[in-house]
Symmetry: C2
Subunit: 433 residues, 2 copies
Amino acid sequence: MAGTRMKLELSRVVQGRSRLGVLRGLGRTGQHSLEIPGCLLYTHFGTVPHLTQDTLHTLTNLPSVTQVTLSSIAEHQEVLEEFKDGFRKFAGLHDTLLYCSLHDPAAPCPTGYTTNKTVSVWGSGGRIELTVAKFMALQKTVQPDWYQSMADGETWQNNTSRKRVRKSVDRTLAHLDECLLVHQNSQELEGVELFGVVEGGDILEERVRSAKETAKRPVSGFCLDGFQTGSMDQALRTQLIAAVTKELPEDKPRLLQGVGRPDEVLACVEAGVDLFESFFPFQVTERGCALCFSFDISPDPERAGSAPPAVLELNDDERDTAGETQQNGDLNLDDQTQMTPFEINLKDKRYQGDFRPLVEGCGCYCCANHQRAYLHHLLVTNELLAGVLLMIHNTAHYHGFFGALREAMANDKVDLLKRRVLRERGGQIERKE
Amino acid sequence: MAGTRMKLELSRVVQGRSRLGVLRGLGRTGQHSLEIPGCLLYTHFGTVPHLTQDTLHTLTNLPSVTQVTLSSIAEHQEVLEEFKDGFRKFAGLHDTLLYCSLHDPAAPCPTGYTTNKTVSVWGSGGRIELTVAKFMALQKTVQPDWYQSMADGETWQNNTSRKRVRKSVDRTLAHLDECLLVHQNSQELEGVELFGVVEGGDILEERVRSAKETAKRPVSGFCLDGFQTGSMDQALRTQLIAAVTKELPEDKPRLLQGVGRPDEVLACVEAGVDLFESFFPFQVTERGCALCFSFDISPDPERAGSAPPAVLELNDDERDTAGETQQNGDLNLDDQTQMTPFEINLKDKRYQGDFRPLVEGCGCYCCANHQRAYLHHLLVTNELLAGVLLMIHNTAHYHGFFGALREAMANDKVDLLKRRVLRERGGQIERKE
């Protein structure tokens, strides 16, 4: 099997599906671990957007696995080959594992370019077509610890035909077999973990077939593709994911691609997902917003009382525009750029005289040093430090949420956590009905 | 006199005009000092562009005075008034002095908007017209330690008529008298230092008159305005500045506005300038470039041998385009956005496989952790971290240059330093002739 040391230790399975545990023995020396449910550290070309490694490490409890994407790396293959020491060293990263995915979850790519033998990625210089040979040569150059197998993921749109979905599953399995063949015969990739990709669009039988077939192969884990936010509604997604995870072995991790909203994360964990990508705080940052939903499940009533009032402060306009995604049938990937009910828009005039931190009690550098009013004025004056400060806070807040989720699962408080996270959404749905 | 504690101690005056010394007793408590020749810390809306305070303070030897500009603050007056505690606290700054200037030296503003009673500044929301009353009310809100008096600085263009220049000098003196009147009757501004502004365009008699008249007023220091890069050639600038500084009292600092190129700094220090603004490293950063001129005057031949080879590496194309400013008569402020011979363009393809740091031996965070090739790829992929990393290096390099200049003045090595800094320019000028 590709990769040998990684071991998933489940400490708890809640309600038959939500899994709490630790992935141990990670990395070529086996010294790293990763808690589940959890998320990978999102990067663009190896950097958490806007942040130096120094700034990043003012944050505690960051995951031990960093996600990089072939879409931003592929065009630099020649230089990386010349550099020889792999992408981690090239990007100045230390003491982290690399997971190499095909696409950037924050930058949806055009469809219609896959063939039987190739997939395409889009870098800054345009489209790059990858055969399995080129894909695997790239992996040898990048030298990740984990990587996603090549896959035909073009079936997420909800009007995709059954025939196209079947072809996508077949192609993805064929790609996986070819990748495995190269992988197993490559010394450079010894000890590296290969994740198989489950496709199948919104067709239950194809999802199950893809899961079953992928599970038969000697992969180290599973990527669930084609479920990204905007591609289908949450009820259908949960149903399909539950059907998929039922077919997957207990002892291997399941990584869901393209889903990051807190409410969706909670639902998908209940459907059996272990790992997520953390592109969501980056998207929130890019629209000038700050995450401030509450995930405080502390029993101390005083602390609970000072939980961030953020969502309650949405005004009627914001309530009406935010979170519409799930109220109507008009779903598409553009929704990813829309504000969600889990954030506040710091560009809004009401924050120009708000001298509180983004989130009361948050220990991040931004909240410890600056007020909402200052962030508002940085955004209004187009000062790029706004992005730096928001990214610090949003990253801290998002990873804090995953920590709270694990704590809730360990202490039978998942329902309380869900009420905290979803409370305003609940109110909102009521209002709308 | 406005401000009372500040004291300039000159330890050396080289060749009759270059002044080496320390400004002591700065700030409301008098505990800060600033070495001259030196520069202020450039900021945009109170932040060194791209950098958090944490990141900034990985740099050593930063100046104790931070420059903020009314152009970015004026539109936020109401909020600052409500905030009450001044701009320093609003911007999360600690342990630094604030110097408040009228305009942003990195963002030249349109001309034609001054009147007898007002000047205009441009914020993100457009033009804001300032009377002396509004200007002084802003100062009380900002609560700086130093500030520049209101001035009519619209005479830097070299086709300005003698009549217009004379009017500018008269208006600026009238503004100063009005500012002083408010200042001296204001409790809020007690202990704050007011700098008078010397105008006069490119007309020697007007420069001298402006200097003499300003020097009669109870100001704490002098701003030399209208000399910005692109407004006149270096020989004329040096001649005018020398004539101006001759009229100014020895015991007060002279701050030159809008000049930042290392060669121009060296010439202006020789003409009697003490202080500069540090917008130059920001401009270099914004065009994707890295400062790497040598200012190594170490006697150790081995260290000298490893001096940054940067400028030598300019190719013929770059040599031909960079630094043209002073070769022809076609001068304008747009030149400020052009590359100079003191930097390398990291976007250039030749750096894509260059695995050296920006400057060999540089101790900044960027050079300690990353190579030119990585910076090149960050720029090519439009990753904003490129700006963060370049700003760290360029700020460190520029302030390092000022440190070397003071060291050279203290040790009779100014000629050696000039040869180091200008060596390639010298070669270039020869080539051109």
